[in-house]
């Protein structure tokens, strides 16, 4: 392996495709490592298509798609592609004068062509396949976790306000609600967050529960601490998270400035269950949240298929190296 100066590999045919938006410092840690290792990659975003990226592929007699994707400075010969790191791409970007119906048509075409072609290539490592990320819904991950042997809080998803009270009472009156998707919500030119919140009895019958599906869960209390487990192709990197008294005790994202992180070893049974769960979900990479209760039982709270990891000092380097190792190994494979 050639040790380079880290200045990039322009001019070398890339074998790794990194799909993410243009401001992704988390990904940059890995990309910097790939540069140091002289692993040729091409970083692009779906938003580059079609105005700054072209796709030309043809079906070969043997049934394999051949051709290339090309950007302004780089491109990739699909026969050279060995790995796709699907990070956080933004949507295809269309000319400003294209109408909404026209954009819907163009998006439908582009999605099936660009992703469809890449997805059909044999022997390409995906971290992760986008459809696996998409399928990693709360219902799916909680099922996989349960089947894998992890403790999972009692959970109700409903748009029937009448269903909440009996569930809450069965949970001893301590329930929380959390979103099934992203926690960021924008409106009126502002951006806010939808953190995990307790649901007091006076809100169990709120008629607005009927307006869409809502998730309610048994609150795991008393809580001893939490764990963030990052998985890279079967390697697990676990960090204990301790939040001071206050809102961070319920949702540590609310008090990120005051959290304490320490490395932690997971029991073998928990490690095995996590790996089993991720196998069921078809994920090579995931960031997993656990709550450890006062009795020491770890409860599966969340599986983030595209979860961030670089914000934790004690595991950042190890995870960076693991991701770089994974992509480099794929790139070196003939």
């Amino acid at each position: 392996m050639t040790i380079g100066t880290g200045g990039g590999t322009r001019g070398t045919s890339p074998r790794v495709l990194v799909v993410t938006h243009d401001l992704d410092p988390t990904a940059d840690y890995v990309l910097r490592e790939l540069n140091l290792r002289q692993v040729p990659f091409w970083r692009t975003d779906l938003a580059d298509f079609p105005q700054q990226m072209s796709l030309t592929v043809a079906l070969a007699p043997g049934g394999q798609w051949q051709g290339s994707m090309s950007g302004i400075l780089r491109g990739i010969d699909l026969s050279e592609l060995r790995a796709v790191w699907w990070r956080k791409p933004t949507a295809f970007r269309w000319p400003g004068t294209m109408t909404a119906p026209e954009q819907r048509f163009a998006s439908s075409q582009a999605k099936r062509s660009v992703i469809g072609t890449l997805g059909s290539l044999p022997s390409v490592l995906w971290v992760n396949r986008p459809e696996r990320n998409s399928d990693c819904t709360k219902p799916a991950q909680l099922t996989a976790a349960t089947e894998a042997g992890l403790a999972v809080p009692a959970t109700l998803i409903t748009n029937d306000p009448q269903a909440v009270r009996p569930f809450a009472e069965a949970c001893g009156g301590r329930i929380i609600t959390k979103v099934l998707g992203g926690i960021v919500h924008t409106e009126d030119g502002k951006r806010g967050q939808l953190y995990t919140s307790r649901v007091p009895p006076e809100r169990w019958d709120d008629p607005r529960i009927a307006l869409t599906a809502h998730l309610f869960q048994q609150e795991i209390t008393p809580k001893a601490y939490e764990i963030r487990v990052t998985c890279v192709a079967g390697e697990l990197f676990a960090a204990r998270i301790d939040a001071p008294d206050g809102p961070g005790q319920l949702d540590w994202r609310t008090d990120s400035a005051n959290l304490r992180y320490t490395g932690i070893d997971l029991p073998l049974t928990v490690r095995a269950a996590i790996l089993n769960m991720l196998y069921r979900l078809g994920l090579v990479y995931a960031a997993i949240d656990l709550i450890v209760d006062a009795a020491g039982t770890p409860w599966l709270i969340d599986v983030n298929a595209g979860g961030q990891w670089a914000f934790i000092d004690c595991t950042r380097t190890a995870i960076t190296q693991a991701l770089a190792d994974l992509l480099e190994k794929a790139a070196r494979h003939d």
């Binding site: 880290g6 200045g7 990039g8 322009r10 243009d22 401001l23 992704d24 410092p25 988390t26 940059d28 840690y29 990309l31 910097r32 540069n35 779906l46 791409p89 933004t90 999605k111 992703i115 986008p130 459809e131 990320n133 998409s134 399928d135 609600t177 979103v179 998707g181 992203g182 926690i183 960021v184 924008t186 409106e187 009126d188 030119g189 502002k190 951006r191 806010g192 967050q193 939808l194 953190y195 919140s197 809100r203 709120d206 607005r208 307006l211 809502h214 994202r253 609310t254 990120s256 400035a257 959290l259 983030n304 298929a305 595209g306 979860g307 961030q308 914000f311 934790i312 000092d313 950042r316």
Partner: protein, 93 residues
């Protein structure tokens, strides 16, 4: 059974200017919305042609601008502390 969701999830950096509707038809789940902040113009971001790393107004982000990842908007999916970027992935929380 596979969920019938969009099979190609993407990050949405758009900020809606539409105001919230009347209480009666505002879903229960939005009653916990908090930390609403006005979103300013997005900074100028480019990709270094050689390293392919993120560059913000001429400075390499991870070398020049981030002394620590904690407290930035790269902290988990979104912590509301918009140091550099908005992280609005609709598929992850």
């Amino acid at each position: 059974m596979l969920a019938l969701t969009d099979r190609v999830p993407t990050l949405n950096l758009d900020v809606s200017n539409e105001p919230g509707g009347p209480d009666a038809t505002r879903p229960f789940g939005l009653t916990v919305l908090t930390s609403m902040v006005t979103v300013g113009p997005r900074p100028t971001v480019t990709i270094d042609p050689d390293t392919q790393l993120s560059v913000l107004e001429g400075l390499t982000v991870i070398d020049d601008l981030l002394t620590a990842m904690a407290n930035s908007s790269c902290n988990t999916e979104s912590d509301g502390k918009d140091a550099i970027a908005i992280d609005s992935d609709a598929n992850d929380d």
